[in-house]
């Protein structure tokens, strides 16, 4: 009898059944997508860590005897002991059967073989991927925990969607079950009926949803590979395990059965009369807000709509939260990307547009050989180039050496603050040295108007320091750093903890202009530019190796980049080098941004779909109660147009609420972020992502309106008489 009753009900109430099936399908699909996606990210992380740092779990540095190794191997939990020879010396890698006890077993092992604790290293990064953390680490890596947290929140939200769909469907059937109970059906029979219905309705959508989620994940990974195909890095590989299917399936089926059971349990707590009345107690409103603003603006229809939504706020909670969060996240993300784009444009692409086009880093080559190589190649279409190396040294400055301008600002400490270290009455200052190939150095000197008679007698001091009191990092103003004393030698140290002067090099001239190089130099450093001849002649006692030589190339025009690049590659054939292309970087940056927008937009879309699914289940699931509600209005003179107005108001409130919440929060975020990063708000307004935000808002409004249109059509067919006293089975 129950089987027939269920089949008959499901057939007669197709929309309700379909809304439950859709909720189960969407939830299972996204549950499967999220678990599969996070699993793939996790596997990718592990593979990357293993590739970069090795697959060892713990290691002991230094040589161990055969006997010591045997002792380690003898420990029950040790799976393998592997000897490894690296540049740093011998290492003994220890692998465990059960990694979780690594932080207990390893101290025992070193105690056993008598090795000091300092020789032991744990692969914390790899271990953390398995949630194994050093108990003494106060700040363990928590990225994975964050991923799991996000996954759990999304998973629970999706489970709530299924539960909500069931509750709404059950609510609409309360009076029917009440009638069945009144003629002798036991609560147990009704519970079994509901569980059977739940399984019958949801099994197929769950299987389909899981398959859809896996396919979507595969698509996302392929898309990510597609975006990064032309650039660097390895392709992500899709992987799937049966355990993932089992997790998604069990989570979905558990939610379905639990939701049906919860709904069934509600019956046992209600009186028969309440059930027969179709859960009218839901409208037993004891306390209500007044909503004067809505009443004032939209009249009694607005008030009725707002209050009706307020009464149903629990049922609409998923929709409210999901839609608001999705729109807020999307809005903040787009604004963040816009601000970040503006920032990158000015601090990188715009700033370096006329500084470099191609940057070559050649390893283990002499600087003068590079010059000869480029000369020999005689590459056309190069506007200019600098060949240089970099060395970081230090010097000490006393108060009397500082410029009057710097003193006027309050001294070095006032400007540099904690970025400067001080000892007794002197400051330690970093001195980055740019060693230019002689001809590049000559070009630089000519450009800054300095006449250097001989290339091997000293260096040019870029005598400037950022006046951060009167300017921000986006529009830096500079003042002289030290007093200019031509031909006075500057003492240089090799490392920052040495006191001994390694060498002293005369300063031939002072300037406030850096060479046009793609270099980010420290804010409060005293930069020195010297020729390769000076370096080779005067710094021979410095134990500094310059393994890398940089060639900063500016082409005649952007269109020449590829041909110049091809020629440079040809010339450097056989050497160890890396090449960066500014235009390609810019393009890559744009593609990455698109990828991020796609992924974050997708996640926001997912959240929005969860919310919209809830709106659909609400509009289609509460038909019975809403028919009674509207019949009441109609009986006292509300017109069909009035009902449409109420429904329209509800669309406006449900769709508009996320926007109303989002606008002020986004404004606060933008103002805060723009002022913190010194970005002009007018510049932001010019680039504001208004179109995608409007499109997103329209999609939300459109979908909510569609849900109300479908539900509203059934509501508008309400028969007042039937709705006000409908106790029949339908």
């Amino acid at each position: 009898m129950w089987k027939e009753y269920s089949i008959s009900y499901l057939k007669k109430n197709k929309i309700t059944s379909i809304s439950i099936m859709i909720a189960a399908l969407i939830s299972a699909m996204f549950l499967s997508l999220i678990t599969t996606l996070f699993y793939n990210i996790w596997v990718d992380n592990i593979n990357r860590i293993i590739k970069e740092e090795g697959d060892w779990q713990a290691k002991i540095t230094g040589s161990l005897s055969e006997k010591e190794r045997e002792s380690i191997q003898g420990v029950a939990n040790v799976e393998a002991v592997v000897i490894s020879q690296t540049e740093a010396g011998m290492e003994t890698l220890v692998y465990f059967y059960e990694m979780r006890s690594i932080y207990e077993d390893m101290p025992e092992i070193i105690k056993l073989i008598g090795v000091d604790e300092e020789y032991v290293q744990y692969h914390n990064m790899l271990l953390s991927q398995y949630f194994i953390f050093d108990p003494e680490d106060e700040r363990p890596p928590m990225l994975l925990a964050f991923y799991v947290f996000v996954m759990a929140v999304a998973g629970i939200s999706l489970m709530l969607v299924i539960r909500n769909a069931f509750l709404i469907s059950m609510q609409s059937r309360l009076h029917q079950f009440g009638i069945l109970q009144s003629i002798g059906a036991t609560p147990r029979q009704i519970r079994i009926c509901l569980l059977q219905e739940a399984l019958g309705l949801c099994l197929l959508p769950i299987f389909t949803g899981i398959a859809g989620g896996v396919s979507l994940c595969y698509g996302v990974i392929q898309l990510a590979n597609e975006i990064t195909a032309d650039y660097h890095g390895e392709k992500a590989v899709f992987s799937y395990q049966m355990e993932l299917f089992i997790i998604a399936f069990l989570a979905s089926i558990f939610t379905v059965l639990y939701s049906a059971w919860i709904s069934a349990r509600k019956f046992s707590k209600m009186s028969l009369l309440e059930i027969i009345r179709g859960g009218e107690e839901q409208e037993d409103v004891r306390k209500l807000k007044k909503f004067r603003f809505i009443s004032f603006c939209f009249g009694i229809e607005g008030e009725l709509a707002r209050k009706s939504l307020y009464v149903r706020r629990k049922a609409l909670r998923t929709a409210t939260l999901s839609l608001t969060l999705s729109y807020l996240a999307f809005s903040v993300f787009l604004c963040f990307m816009t601000l970040s784009g503006i920032s990158t444009k000015y601090t990188y692409f715009e700033r370096y547009k006329d500084v470099w086009d191609i940057m070559v880093t050649v390893k283990d080559q002499k600087i003068n050989d590079m010059e000869a190589l480029l000369d020999e190649a005689a590459i056309d279409k190069i506007e200019s180039y600098y060949i240089y190396q970099k060395v970081l040294t230090y010097t000490w400055l006393t108060e009397d050496m500082l410029s009057d301008e710097l003193k006027a600002l309050g001294g070095f400490l006032a400007v540099a603050g904690t970025d400067v270290s001080m000892e007794a009455d002197r400051y330690q200052v970093t001195v980055p040295i740019i060693i230019m190939e002689d001809r590049s150095f000559q070009n630089y000197c000519e450009r800054i108007g300095v006449n250097v008679s001989a290339l091997n007698q000293g260096m040019v001091c870029v005598n400037r320091i950022w006046d951060n009191i009167h300017s921000n990092f986006r529009g830096k103003q500079y003042i002289p750093f030290i007093k200019e004393r031509v031909n006075k030698a500057l003492p240089l140290f090799q490392t920052n903890n040495e006191r001994k002067v390694m060498t002293e090099i005369p300063v031939l001239a002072y300037t406030n202009q850096l060479p046009e190089l793609r270099e980010e130099l420290a804010n409060y450093a005293l930069v020195q530019i010297m020729s390769a001849s000076t370096w080779q002649g005067m710094a021979t006692n410095m134990r500094v190796e310059e393994p890398e030589t940089y060639i900063n190339v500016q082409t005649a025009a952007d269109k020449d980049n590829n041909s110049v690049l091809a020629e440079v590659v040809r010339v450097l054939g056989g050497k160890d080098y890396e090449i960066e292309n500014r235009l390609e970087q810019e393009q890559f940056n744009t593609e990455i941004k698109k990828g991020y927008t796609l992924i974050v937009g997708g996640l926001c879309g997912l959240l929005a779909i969860i919310g919209l699914a809830n709106v659909f289940t609400n509009t289609l699931g509460y038909i019975y109660q809403r028919k009674r509600e509207f019949a009441r209005y109609l009986s006292i003179g509300l017109t069909p147009q009035g009902i449409k107005k109420i429904l329209g108001m509800e669309v406006l409130i449900i769709g508009g609420r996320p926007i109303v919440f989002t606008i002020p929060l986004t404004i606060v975020f933008v103002v805060f972020a723009a002022s913190a990063s010194y970005i002009d708000l007018a510049e932001f307004l010019k680039n504001m992502p208004i179109v995608p935000l409007i499109i997103f808002a329209c999609i939300i409004f459109g979908s909510v309106a569609l849900a109300y249109y479908v539900g509203g059509r059934r509501l508008l067919r309400v028969n007042i008489i039937e709705a006000l006293k409908n106790d029949t089975l339908s």
């Binding site: 009464v311 209005y633 003179g637 069909p640 006293k725």
Partner: protein, 227 residues
């Protein structure tokens, strides 16, 4: 003066294979200020008659005139406006709007018309019905009797031509039933309100000055009484 007239009023439910004739060519005239009780067994068609008179439902055949307006020709919108302005409907289960206060519930027909109620009359009605101190309460905070009085106040506020009550005491105890009847009589007497009341209760029917008895959708008897 005639306020209501039915001519050959017929209502048939169901499809061609399974037809139920709820009303069968009913002819009826009611004068302004009358207090009429429509009695009859279950299924005799009395609720159907009330719904047709209130413009809630449309007749299959025949006409209903209220103050010379033919209800059978009204569009759904015009019928709604008619219900709002010309009739006051009182139901057994009150049909108050649970999300509105008593005051807003009573004013609802006027608010739908974007009109301000005559506050003097409003005060008079709520004072007479004894719900002045409940104006800020929600329906769920009232007893059954208070809810029905609120429904009566709502039906009276627009000073409608007709007040139609479908088993108004069906959900109330004896004492509350008595009070509601007294109030309906009071509004009939003091305000000259025309009242048509549907009831099973013989004692209640005897309170009216005219009793119409329906049987199988036809008027079986129509007798005037002196109170």
């Amino acid at each position: 003066m005639e306020i209501l007239r039915c001519e050959g009023l017929t209502k048939v439910y169901g499809n061609a294979d399974n037809q139920v004739k709820a009303l069968d060519h009913v002819n009826l005239t009611i004068e302004k200020g009358e207090f009429v009780a429509v009695a009859g067994a279950s299924g005799s068609g009395k609720s159907t008659l009330l719904h047709l008179l209130g413009g809630v439902d449309y007749p299959t055949e025949g006409k209903v005139f209220v103050e010379n307006t033919d209800l059978s020709t009204l569009t759904p919108t015009s019928a709604a406006i008619f219900r709002r302005r010309k009739v006051g409907l009182i139901y057994q289960f009150y049909n108050l709007i649970p999300t509105l206060t008593v005051e807003r519930n009573i004013m609802m027909p006027m608010l739908l018309d974007k009109k301000k109620p005559d506050m003097e009359f409003f005060d008079q009605v709520v004072a007479t019905l004894g719900i002045r101190d409940k104006l800020n309460s929600l329906p769920s905070q009232l007893s059954g009797g208070q809810q029905q009085r609120t429904a009566i106040a709502r039906s009276l506020l627009y000073r409608p031509a007709l007040l139609l009550a479908d088993e108004p005491t069906g959900n109330l105890d004896h004492s509350n039933s008595r009070e509601i009847i007294e109030m309906l009589k009071l509004s009939n007497k003091n305000l000259g309100q025309t009242i048509i009341i549907i009831t099973h209760d013989e004692k209640m029917a005897l309170e009216a000055n005219r009793i119409i008895t329906l049987e199988d959708g036809r008027i079986a008897s129509d007798e005037s009484r002196r109170r």
